[in-house]
């Protein structure tokens, strides 16, 4: 058997096209299982494979996409996994001949690993193992995992293929609008799958070649692995009673070259494609001369920093990156509340702790479950489950017990950092293989059987040992990180500088990323933040790449940002300006309103209102009233009301939207409440009393509340009856409050009929009150039909209508 991967280095291989589409043409009835049908129609399968072979395919795929226990269970055939996979492989083999490779196709089970689905990761691995072992026995050249829509499930299949066979594995996901179904973007998938040992990474299915091009482009930036692509022939359409796919063979052929230029080494086609598509693609492929395509020579091997990932996001660590902050607060040893949460399974506390650290700038989270007398493996697994579903921050698994760590690594769907290993034989032998197997990076502590050496040079020696052992086992250099360890300055203050020196030596001699558990330096001393931050600054100067620290100390982020700038890691001070709040192009300048220019003052006031900036607005008003002795009433009439009108116009013109309108109305409300306190009660005129409410049966009150907020600012007295209000409540309150207007709101077709009930009651009682209606489903026609006096299509219009109704009334 020729070596598949080495052939792939020499040339691009053309795979085949759709199986399902061809099976339907050959008579597979809708709803029948394609794999079971194959057992009775081997000759039809051979015919299809042969068509693709003749069209130029150099890789033929087995008809085993759904040949796993869980899928076959739906057809009461879960016991036939081996038979089906062996048969499918045999059928292709009879056609393939010497020059064609056979891909053992493995599709998803339709179940995501728990907690999303009902099967655990280990159960899914077992399902895939059964199928993949059968495919290997059947003699396929490589395993092709395709159309996976969840990174967790793909990881389980990849694990099974890498650990239970010796075959190369291609892993291909399917994306919609740039993400898998469960939210993974291609860059993250590439990082995680490469770390797990995938030999080829790909994308297939989706709606067509155009949608896959940006996916492949993202892959090509994120990995040096060969890439695979199999687009659909567009979406199916019905033309003259026949099913046709939108993309013709010519269109598919045109997509070949752009893919090749991005580094694709296996190209085929998915749903809807036929041998005609493959033939056209083959012609294009044959015509393409890679030597003459100068876009390809630019694709030299890329060097990457340390890359860690959650299931949806990649964070890079290294000399060319910003120094990163790893949140240290999920640690039961240091914090009672966390210990308590672990003990009582209060996972919401843990997740909240994660969120809080993330909001304060943590880009990675350390998860330590070292609770005495507990099952650390179970805690780690559950902690990961909870955190990775809620947050997209990559996790650092702070655990040194191999069995516990393995449970955690199985559960984690991204690329974790293991914290930690050290120079002890026991540690290296137990944990390095786990890192390799589960695609994790490792953090090595510079200590061994003899403890932490005092001298920096000796720490370097341990680091050297860790790095070389990790490289031996097959970890990439960028996946090895070193923590040079700091002891508390309380015992011996001279030791801190040894750590700094060790960082310099490790960076210089080994060139790996350095991380530091920072807080230990201040252990047992007062004003820990002073020491932590000063030491962090020194370490950054020595080349530190990431610190495990407390994000809730605001100085840490400041030191990191300043340190990044001063150590040349922050080109153009972009990050620094952003952190300091100066880079925001939207940031509003705060004009100096102490000047005596009334136009400026009006403009500033208008800006504050428009942007809904409550505090500066009130400050400005205070100044106008107390310092400049302006009359509050004239501020309302000459400044605020015109501003409100202008904003209403902007809204009408579609230049601002409802949220902004409301935010500005909030600011105005605060302004009014301040100004009114400065006025004698009698000087404020009530423009009218309005009863507002959402009609009976309806529980939506957002719209009604918007109208209320705006009307209040326009000087109306509002009696808000809330939601689900019966007709008699509207009537009674209107009478009691001597209201001029009742405003009715309804969102649903099933409840808007209640508006009519209210109107009928008002007419029956011959009340002088006018009725205004509005709400999502209500139309002007409907309003007229039920006898309403007015209709407002939105809040701004409602105000105009009310003004008109009151004018008529006068």
């Amino acid at each position: 058997m020729r070596e598949f991967l080495s052939t792939l280095k020499e040339k691009v291989l053309l795979a085949d096209g759709a199986m399902g589409t061809m099976l339907t043409k050959e008579g597979l009835p809708a709803g029948e299982n394609p794999e079971l049908w194959m057992l009775n129609h081997p000759e039809k399968l051979k015919k299809i494979h042969n068509h693709y072979l003749k069209a130029g395919s150099k890789i033929l795929l087995t008809n085993t996409f759904g040949a796993n226990r869980l899928k076959l269970q739906e057809y009461q055939a879960s016991s036939r996994v081996k038979e089906i996979n062996l048969t499918a492989a045999r059928i292709v083999k009879e056609i393939a001949g010497e020059k064609t490779f056979i891909a053992g196709t493995v599709g998803p089970t339709g179940h995501f690993p728990a907690p999303l689905g009902e099967y655990t990761w280990a159960q899914l691995v077992d399902v895939f193992r059964e199928q993949i072992e059968a495919l290997q026995e059947g003699g396929v050249d490589f395993i092709l995992l395709e159309t996976f829509s969840d990174l967790g499930e793909a990881r389980a299949a990849l694990y099974a293929a890498k650990n239970y066979t010796t075959l190369p594995v291609a892993c291909s996901l399917t994306y919609t609008q740039g993400r898998t179904l469960t939210g993974t973007p291609p860059e993250t998938a590439a990082v995680v799958l490469e770390a797990m040992g995938a030999d080829i990474i790909g994308a297939n299915c989706s709606t067509g070649a155009r949608e896959l091009l940006p996916i492949i482009e993202a892959y090509s930036k994120a990995t040096n692995l060969p890439l695979l692509v199999e687009p659909n022939a567009g979406l199916p359409e019905l033309v003259e009673g026949k099913t046709v796919y939108r993309e013709t063979p010519k269109m598919m052929a045109e997509a070949v070259k752009p893919f090749l230029q991005l580094g694709v080494r296996i190209i085929g086609a998915c749903c809807g494609s036929t041998p005609a598509h493959i033939r056209a693609m083959n012609d294009e492929l044959q015509a393409w001369d890679s030597a003459k395509d100068n876009t390809l020579t630019a694709r030299s091997k890329k060097l990457f920093s340390t890359r860690l990932a959650s299931r949806t996001k990649v964070v890079s660590i290294g000399t060319n990156e910003l120094p990163r902050l790893i949140g240290e607060r999920i640690n039961p040893t240091a914090r009672k509340a966390i210990a308590e949460a672990f003990r009582n399974n209060k996972w919401d506390v843990i997740v909240k702790e994660g969120y809080e650290q993330w909001q304060k700038g943590a880009e990675l989270l350390d998860l330590n479950v070292g609770l005495p007398e507990s099952n650390e493996g179970d805690l780690l697994r559950e902690g990961i489950r909870q955190l990775q579903m809620s947050l997209d921050v990559p996790l650092v698994l702070d655990c040194t017990k191999p069995e516990a760590l393995e449970k955690g690594l199985q559960e984690y769907q991204g690329k974790a950092l293991i914290n930690s290993i050290n120079g002890e034989e026991k540690s290296l032998a137990a944990i390095l293989p786990l890192a390799k197997k589960y695609g994790a990076a490792v953090l090595g502590l510079t200590l061994d059987e003899n403890g932490i050496p005092t001298k920096a040079e000796e720490r370097l020696k341990i680091a050297e040992k860790i790095v070389s052992r990790a490289l031996e086992i097959g970890l990439a250099k960028e996946d090895i990180l070193i923590d040079c360890l700091v002891l508390t300055a309380a015992t011996d203050p001279t030791l801190a500088l040894e750590t700094i020196k060790a960082i310099q030596l490790v960076k210089q001699h080994l060139g790996v990323s350095c991380v530091l558990g920072l807080s230990n330096v201040s252990h047992g001393l007062p004003q820990r933040s002073w020491l932590n931050n000063t030491f962090l600054a020194l370490a950054l100067g020595a080349g530190l790449d990431a610190a495990i620290a407390n994000p809730l100390d605001p100085r840490i982020s400041e030191t990191l940002a300043a340190g990044a700038l001063l150590t040349g890691r922050d080109a153009g001070a972009k990050h620094y300006l952003q952190v300091t709040g100066k880079a925001d192009i939207f940031a509003t300048s705060t004009p100096d309103h102490t000047q005596n220019n009334s136009t400026d003052q009006t403009a500033t006031l208008y800006t504050y209102i428009l942007q809904g900036q409550k505090e500066p607005l009130i400050c400005l008003l205070q100044e106008l009233v107390s310092t400049k002795k302006m009359n509050p009433l004239s501020i309302i009439n000459e400044e605020i009301i015109p501003s409100l009108e202008k904003i209403g116009e902007l809204f009408d013109q579609g230049k601002i939207f409802l949220p902004q309108l409301l935010l500005s109305s909030e600011a105005v409300k605060a302004a009014f409440s301040y100004l009114r306190r400065q006025l004698p009660v009698s000087s404020l005129k009530n423009k009218g009393t309005i009863i507002l409410g959402t009609v009976k049966g309806d529980i939506h009150d957002i719209g009604k509340n918007i109208v209320k907020a705006l009307l209040e600012n326009h000087g109306y007295k509002i009696i808000d009856l809330g939601k689900n209000v019966p007709a008699e409540a509207f009537i009674n309150n209107a009478v009691k409050e001597k209201a001029q207007i009742i405003g009715l709101s309804a969102l649903m077709t099933t409840t808007m009929v209640e508006m009519e009930t209210v109107i009928k009651e008002v007419q029956k009682k011959k009340l002088a009150v006018k009725i205004l209606v509005g709400g999502a489903v209500v139309t002007e026609d409907y309003a007229r039909k039920i006898g309403a006096d007015g209709y407002g299509k939105d809040a701004v219009e409602a105000i105009k209508v009310i003004e008109k109704l009151l004018d008529q009334g006068e």
């Binding site: 399902g20 339907t24 597979l28 009835p29 809708a30 709803g31 029948e32 759904g66 339709g110 995501f112 907690p115 999303l116 689905g117 009902e118 829509s149 919609t176 993400r179 179904l181 469960t182 939210g183 979406l235 199916p236 359409e237 019905l238 099913t243 749903c271 997740v351 969120y355 579903m389 809620s390 925001d584 939207f586 942007q611 809904g612 900036q613 939207f657 409802l658 949220p659 902004q660 409301l662 935010l663 109305s665 909030e666 049966g697 309806d698 529980i699 939506h700 009150d701 957002i702 509340n705 918007i706 209320k708 907020a709 649903m748 077709t749 099933t750 409840t751 999502a776 489903v777 139309t779």
Partner: protein, 230 residues
């Protein structure tokens, strides 16, 4: 019982249409939208359930399903499912915690309530879209063409069928009920039907097109299939 659970992966961009916004928000708006997006992601564990029924009988404006009293009613509705042999009914919800948040905000701060409400609507819509994608893929793998999803209340399928709909999929198992006015509770919930068609269907076309009043739709300003008529 079939359950569908995936994390909410939407970004603030997906919420903008629900706020009637067709351009980038101001920094202040963006901050609030993101604030409530995080809040909602923290509060909710969206969940969906589904069940597939065979089409039992077909009248001109009515489809009867096997093993459930639910009927799919209305001329436009039955046209939508014309070539279908089976129909998958799905129900999805963000859960009751969101309603508590919204009702608290609604009395405290209308601007925040508006934004949180729109973000929650976009979240359940996004989740249902993913759910639809998942079910549609399975339908395709069985050799059928999935139709666009169609909900009670669309076209002329009255909302009154909501109760039968929920009992068909055992909506109560995911905490979903309906009020006497056929409003789903929790409010941020969706029910819909996807047909298994023997013939290709126009999946991209909004099922509500020209049938529901676009004026009443939250997505009216951004929907490419908007039907403009007054």
């Amino acid at each position: 019982m079939n359950l569908f659970k995936i994390p909410l992966n939407l970004t603030y961009h997906e919420s903008l249409p629900f706020l009637g916004m067709n351009k980038e928000p101001s920094p202040q708006e963006k901050e609030l939208i993101e604030h409530y997006l995080i809040k909602i992601k923290q509060l909710t564990q969206p969940i969906g359930t589904w069940k597939t029924f065979a089409v039992k009988a077909r009248e001109s404006a009515r489809i009867h399903l096997a093993e459930t009293p639910l009927q799919i009613v209305g001329s436009s509705t039955s046209e939508h499912f014309q070539s279908c042999e089976q129909i998958t009914l799905l129900a999805a919800t963000l859960g009751a915690e969101i309603d508590q948040l919204l009702s608290r905000l609604s009395s405290e701060n209308p601007a925040h309530a508006l934004i949180a409400d729109a973000v929650a609507s976009s979240a359940i819509e996004f989740f249902t879209e993913q759910f639809d994608l998942y079910l549609s893929t399975q339908i395709r793998h069985k050799g059928f063409f999935p139709t666009a999803r169609f909900s009670p209340g669309y076209g002329n399928w009255p909302l009154n069928w909501q109760k039968e709909f929920l009992s068909s999929v055992k909506g109560e198992k995911i905490g979903l009920t309906t009020t006497d006015y056929f409003i789903l509770k929790p409010t941020k919930s969706i029910t819909a039907a996807i047909g298994w068609s023997k013939l290709p269907t126009k999946k991209t076309r909004k099922p509500c097109r020209e049938q529901q009043t676009c004026r009443s739709c939250r997505l009216a300003t951004s929907c490419p299939d908007r039907f403009v008529s007054n």
